[in-house]
Structures are given as structure tokens and as C-alpha cells.
Symmetry: C2
Subunit: 464 residues, 2 copies
């Protein structure tokens, strides 16, 4: 099984069935994407017109292709797909990506066509992704089968399974332009006539490139198998899942685009827990939690410290830690407390969380944040630290390299940053910190929400 998907994630050669020389056509964009990612394998475009596309010789028919190609990406009108699958199989191609929509997600006729396609796949014994998929991404192999113009996708150790076209397309585009983390593999499952979430999860489970798995699913094709694989996987890798269609409203909306069945959400809830899968609800957390995990380790526990330049932030975040996030804001060791007190005016009794303002008033931003962060990071009662940075021209711009340095000194503890800043400083600070391994978050609550998710991952992992 895993070996078959190796052809899929590490193809040494790929045929593009339905290649096009016309820019912005899917059959053209897919080649452009592959080249943009510096794929080093062979590319075999197929189009009855022949000629050349982007310097590659075009084969008029599948039957003209050489034997032994690893993967076919089929970008043809729905009706032509069953035959294309058979033709590719006849050429010894064992794995395929079937991009076209127009199957069971559309109407009765589409359902019949999908049954025919399924038959072609089963009878030829090939492994197929789709139909109705936006493709997949495999950065260690510099490859993507996405026909949406995604550009170069940065490499990392997060892998996604998504039952939606959006992930391998717009969301990847958002991640690769807005965020500073990379991915290992991304699979858009589509209609799942063959390869399903369990197959992909199994591959990710033993994939050395994948350190954490994020899943968006609207339905499970083989729930029992998925849960079983997940239970094994979460011993060593976190799985974080957003289940679409958790409510009647969501199921209705799901009906509109994938014909997924509404399942009993409580059964799912129980099964996920048993499997050690951390359930999330926000779409944005598919991105923010991945970002948190990319640069930093899982927190060892839920005991956090945070630094803020405002009493109100200290108070309200403490409230939310207890009330919503299951994060503890414990008492510091006396030595840490004293260290904080040393840099602060005597009128304020320093504690956890850390009011950084008085210290900054006395010693300046640079020193206050550096010393304050180090004091709590060195504390054995603390598993993770959130630093809310005050940055503006008037109070000063803290030396961000110092933040990076102190975070690096404690590589076993996550350090996350949010801002209380003037606009012009936020974007450059985000860029500076993230490209040096310190993740930042848009609103001050976001790093806490992410920690809350990751603490659960750790808890499930420790349970085994």
C-alpha cells in the first residue's frame, strides 16, 4: 500500500493527459506549477495536437507514451476519464490523479459516470485520486498535480488531508504568500473513488517528512480503518482534524458541494477522542496551529507564562486561559519571581503573568522583554511562553533578534508572539521573527488558542 502511494508522492516521471498550450487552462497551469516547483523528473504532456508545451515534447495519445511512467495527471472532460484510466493502465501507469469534476457531486448522470470510472480503476488495479480533486502536493519531491496556479510551495513538515478543493489551491496560496511555514504533503481527496483519507493517513503515518497531520474531512469513507490508523499514528505524530458538517447547518452546506452524508456528530466526537485526534472547529486553525507546530515543539504541558504591556491583557487572557483554553498560568518558582522583581520597580509585585510595562519603563523594551522572557522560560513550572510585544515609535521598537535568541536558548519550549503595535511595525516584525523561527499571530488571543490545541495533542500522545 505505502509503496503504491510512493509512486504518487515521489513520482520519477509524470504524464499530463490533457496538457494544453493555452495559458490559464488547467492542462497548462498544471505543468507551469510542476516547473515552478523545480520538479526534476520527466514530464510527458499528452495532447492530440502534438508539438511542444513549455519546451516539453507533446505525445498525441496515451498509447504513444513510453512504458514505465510513475504517475498520470488526467485533466480531461469527465466523460473521457474512464477510457483514459484504461489507456494509462495499459501503458503500465499505476497511479493517477483524476482532476475533472462532473461526477457524483453533480447529478444522476454524473453518478453513473463515476461508477464507470470506479470500474475502470478497479478492473485495472491502479490507484487513483479523485475525481473532482484539485490535486496533491509533495514538496520533498518538488512536485504538485494541482492545476490551480499555486506557484512555488515552501517545504516543511506539516502534511494536510483535505476533502475540499480549497486546500491545494487558494489556501495553499494564502499559506505560501502570507505565512512563513512550509508543507510536506497536501492531498485534496475529491470524490474518493479509490484513494481515501485512510490510505493517505497511513502513508503520512510512516512518512519521515511528515511530523504533524492536519485533516479537513466532511465524511469518512472507512471510519473504522481511519480511526485505527489514527490511533497508531497519534502515538508519535499529532493529528488535528476539522470535521465539516458537525451540525445540521454545516451538513446542508456540505450537501451543496460534496454530497457528504450528515453523520451523528457525537459518535464522531467519541471516535476521534479514542483515536487521539484533536478536534478543532475554526478553519483558520488549520493554518495557525500548523504554523505554531512548524517552528516550535509541542508544549510539554498546559502550564504557560505570558508577558504583556497591559494589565487588562494580563487579566483578560488569564480569564480565558482558565475559562476556555484549559491553560494554566501557574505560580513561578521563587528564583524566577525574584529575577523578574529585580528588573521591575519595587511598587509592583511581579508574578505570572508578567506585566512587562514597568520594567520596560525602567530598563527599556529590549532588556525588559529579553530578561522577562528568559526568566519565565528558565522556570521549570512553565511549558510555553506567549510574548505580546509592544512596538511603536514612541515607546521604542524592541530588538527582535534578542527575542529570537532567547527563544532559541529554550528549544524544548514553544515561544509564540502577538503584537500590541503600531501598524507599520507589525508586518516587518512578523516577517523578521517568523523567518527566524518564532511564529507570530494576528490577534492577541490567537497564540493561546493554538497552544490550547497543541496541549491537547501532547496529552493524547502522552496517553499511550
Amino acid at each position: 500500500m505505502s509503496q503504491q502511494l510512493d509512486l504518487f508522492f515521489k513520482p520519477r516521471s509524470v504524464a499530463i493527459i490533457g496538457a494544453s498550450s493555452v495559458r490559464h487552462k488547467a492542462g497548462n497551469d498544471v505543468i507551469r506549477n510542476i516547473l515552478a516547483n523545480d520538479y526534476s523528473g520527466e514530464i510527458y504532456p499528452v495532447n492530440p495536437k502534438g508539438g511542444e508545451i513549455m519546451g516539453k515534447k507533446v505525445y498525441p495519445a496515451i498509447s504513444d507514451l513510453p512504458h514505465g511512467i510513475d504517475l498520470a495527471v488526467i485533466i480531461l472532460p469527465a466523460k473521457l476519464n474512464p477510457q483514459a484510466v484504461r489507456d494509462c493502465a495499459a501503458k503500465g501507469i499505476k497511479t493517477m490523479v483524476i482532476a475533472a469534476g462532473g461526477f457524483s457531486e453533480v447529478d444522476k448522470e454524473g453518478e453513473l459516470l463515476q461508477a464507470e470510472l470506479e470500474r475502470a480503476v478497479r478492473e485495472t488495479g491502479v490507484r487513483a485520486l479523485g475525481p473532482n480533486t484539485s490535486g496533491h502536493v509533495s514538496t520533498p519531491c518538488n512536485f504538485t498535480s494541482s492545476f490551480f496556479p499555486v506557484g512555488r510551495i515552501p517545504r516543511g513538515h506539516i502534511s494536510y488531508i483535505a476533502q475540499t478543493g480549497n486546500f491545494a489551491t487558494h489556501t495553499m496560496r494564502y499559506i505560501s504568500t502570507f505565512e512563513n511555514f512550509g508543507v510536506a504533503r497536501v492531498v485534496g481527496l475529491g470524490n474518493k473513488i479509490d484513494i481515501d483519507e485512510s490510505d493517505v493517513l497511513e502513508y503520512y503515518s510512516s512518512d519521515p517528512e511528515t511530523e504533524a497531520i492536519f485533516v479537513y474531512l466532511e465524511s469518512l469513507k472507512s471510519p473504522r480503518r481511519f480511526i485505527e490508523i489514527a490511533r497508531e499514528t497519534t502515538r508519535h505524530k499529532p493529528i488535528i482534524m476539522l470535521k465539516g458538517g458537525a451540525t445540521a447547518s454545516g451538513s446542508r452546506a456540505a450537501g451543496a458541494h460534496t454530497a457528504a452524508l450528515a453523520s451523528d456528530d457525537r459518535i464522531i466526537e467519541g471516535a476521534l477522542k479514542k483515536a487521539g485526534i484533536v478536534r478543532i472547529y475554526k478553519y483558520s486553525h488549520l493554518i495557525l496551529a500548523a504554523k505554531g507546530l512548524s517552528a516550535m515543539p509541542l508544549p510539554r504541558g498546559n502550564r504557560i507564562s505570558f508577558l504583556a504591556p497591559s494589565g487588562a491583557m494580563l487579566v483578560t487572557m488569564s480569564d480565558m486561559c482558565q475559562k476556555f483554553w484549559n491553560l494554566e498560568v501557574p505560580t513561578l518558582e521563587e528564583k524566577s519571581r525574584r529575577r523578574l522583581q529585580e528588573i521591575s520597580p519595587s511598587y509592583i509585585r511581579m508574578r505570572n503573568p508578567v506585566d512587562i510595562w514597568p520594567s520596560a519603563m525602567v530598563h527599556g523594551m529590549d532588556f525588559a522583554y529579553q530578561e522577562g522572557m528568559e526568566a519565565v522560560l528558565a522556570d521549570s513550572n512553565i511549558d510555553a511562553v506567549v510574548s505580546i510585544l509592544l512596538i511603536n515609535d514612541e515607546t521604542g521598537v524592541p530588538d527582535l533578534q534578542r527575542i529570537v535568541d532567547v527563544a532559541r536558548k529554550y528549544p524544548q519550549k514553544p515561544v509564540y508572539v502577538a503584537f500590541s503595535a503600531e501598524k507599520k511595525h507589525m508586518e516587518p516584525a512578523k516577517e523578521f521573527l517568523e523567518t527566524r523561527g518564532v511564529p507570530t499571530f494576528p490577534l492577541i488571543e490567537d497564540p493561546f488558542e493554538v497552544l490550547s490545541i497543541l496541549v491537547q495533542c501532547r496529552k493524547y500522545m502522552d496517553r499511550h
Copy 2:
């Protein structure tokens, strides 16, 4: 009462007791702030050294001031404040802002000093804000008593009451640089020896410049009075409140900076509900909900529609609407459904929420978003609309003016925007839309969270 606070919010003249000619000193920054906001009243700096500060004649002592000044901003070391209050009162000054910290928030000695200050205020009959306050803002009068360099503060119709120095300072700086909405009044309450949350709320309640009131409090000085005024106020103006110290953790953190008492949170919960005050928990919502309210009316009810370029977004947001946000995503009127269907391929059955992608594929982004938004805005089943805009070079940049135009056509319904965009387009799109009255939000969940808050405001208002 209200009249007395008129001097405070509309001072025709102000004395700065402890004015300084040294840049970055509080006694200097306060004057700089006042000038930066184009205050047109008289400014009377007081400093024993005399001379001039920023072109203003300096009076060596309070006793040298002319009679009849409306407001004194006292920026002196803690110990000098009681006498300064008496001296100002002797000159006929009836309202004061007492900036200094070093009172009950610090130690026993500070408590004694605060008692002395309180006596001075009571015996002279003046109205005083503070001590330990970061000042107040009154944009209709172009005035601020903040000694933190806030720059020019944009005018609007949101007013804040905050028991924290942060609001009139860093958070105002964040709002005025990052967000595109303005405020009417902001008060940092400080230690509340005289003017408290109830006094300010009463003023805001009948203040024609204030259309919505946001409150951050850690403790209530006169809970019964506050709740009574609030109950009257929420008949015509929403009050949204973040109560710091809702948990033991939060109370401990509050102890660190304002000596507020932990109150029984359930009693507060009940009292707020009775008063029609909408309770929030996220600090960020003090800003985002204000932004939502600034540009758009309150939604008439909780029935929303939203448009997104991704099935997964449609599904997960629908789930959250039902599960967490108390927002309904109702069936559209048949005429609206047909209108959506007309612009979409026949294979997809259009409904609420609106999958805008197929239509955009056929008709382009501009038309799809414009027509899609108009279809749901015209629907009498819909109270508010969230549009998640897909913006990138490959799929195209929708004509944002059309979004503005369609929103303006339905001024009784809030239209909020979030993005699924390439990085480079997000900031310019935010700027374009917000400066034309359409608020945007950082993550796709944020506009829904804000709507959820505002729907509650409406519900409380309708209850009366």
C-alpha cells in the same frame, strides 16, 4: 452631574499642572497630544521654571493662573497631588485629571496618600478622574488628557470606558494606526477616587456623539447604579462589556495591577444580562466589534448569509454559526435562489451559504461577488452578509468599488468582509474597503464572531 462632566469632555480651557519643556516627559507629551489633536481652547502650562513651552506662556504656580479654567490635568509626583487639587479648586477649576500613579495600587503608604487625595477632592467639591489614569479623549472637542504619545485620534461614534491605562494609550495607538474607525470619548478610570464607571456611563448615555459604548472593567465601584443606568441606556445604545477578573486566574492577575476585588462572576453575569449589557471575553473584540459597529448598523436579527470561494469554508462556518455563534443561515427566498442560480452553472444547486466559486469561474470575480452579494442582501430573510473575498493575481482581483456600492445600496444591513487572499492584496483591500465604510476582519471567523455579539445587542435593545 452631566453638566459637570461637560467641563471634562468639552473643556474650553485647560491647565497643565506639571507641564514640562523636556520631550518625552509626561508633562510635555500631554501638551503635544493636545496640540496634535487641534484643540482650539486655551492651554495654561504650569511649571515653577516659567518661560514658554511649545509657544505657550508658562505660569510659575497654580496661584498665578487666571480664574475660570475648565479643566486641570495634574501631572505631578503622587505626594504633591492633594495640595494641587486644593490649589486648583481655589482658582475655581471644577474638574481635574490626576495622572500620577503611586497610590492604592502600590502599597500602604500609597493608600494613605490616596485617602488624603480623596479628602481634598471631597472637601473642595471638584470632580476628579484618577489617580493612576492614562487620561481621557474627547474627539468632538479635539481634546485629550493622555500623557502617552497618542498622536491624532480619529473622530467617530464609539466611546470607551476602561479601567486600564492601556486603552487611552497603546490600544488607541493601535486603533488609530491599524484600524479605520474613530472614537468619540475614551476614559481611563484609574483608581476611581471620584469619577467612576457609572458617572461616565451616565454621560455617554445622553451624549449625542456616542452611539455605542464599550466597557472594560475589573471592578464596579457602584454596581447597582451602574446596572440601573445601563438598563436605561441599552434601550437606545448598545453596551458591550469585557469584565476582567472573571476567573480566579484573572483576579490574581488583576490583583497585580489594580487591587480590584474578585467578585462572584455569576452574580455579575446575571446583572449584566438584566441590564442588557452584552458580555464579551476577547480583548480583541473591544476593537473588532467597535469597528463592525462604526461603519454598519446593528443587524436586525441573527439570520445571515455568507459568500465564500470554498466549500470547506461554507461548511465549517455554517457549523460554527449553529454550534457557537447563535447565527442562523436560513433558506433564501426562491427569487434570490433563482437569481443566484442564474449566475451559476446548472450542476450546482445554489443556496445559502453561497458558493461563489462556480459563478466566478463562469462570470469572473467582479460580477459574481456583486450579483451574489446583491441577491442575498435583497432577500428579506437575511439580516446581515459576510463576504469572504478571494483575491489573488491568478483568479483575479475583484472590483472592490462594486463591493462598496452594493453594501451602500442596503444601508440597513451590515456587510462585513474577510479574505482568502494572497498576501500582497490583503492590506490594500482592507484599506480601500474600510475607508469607504466596509469593515474587514483579519481571520475568516472574525466577522461572524462580531455579528454574534451585535445580534445580542439588538436582541437586548428589542427586549425593551
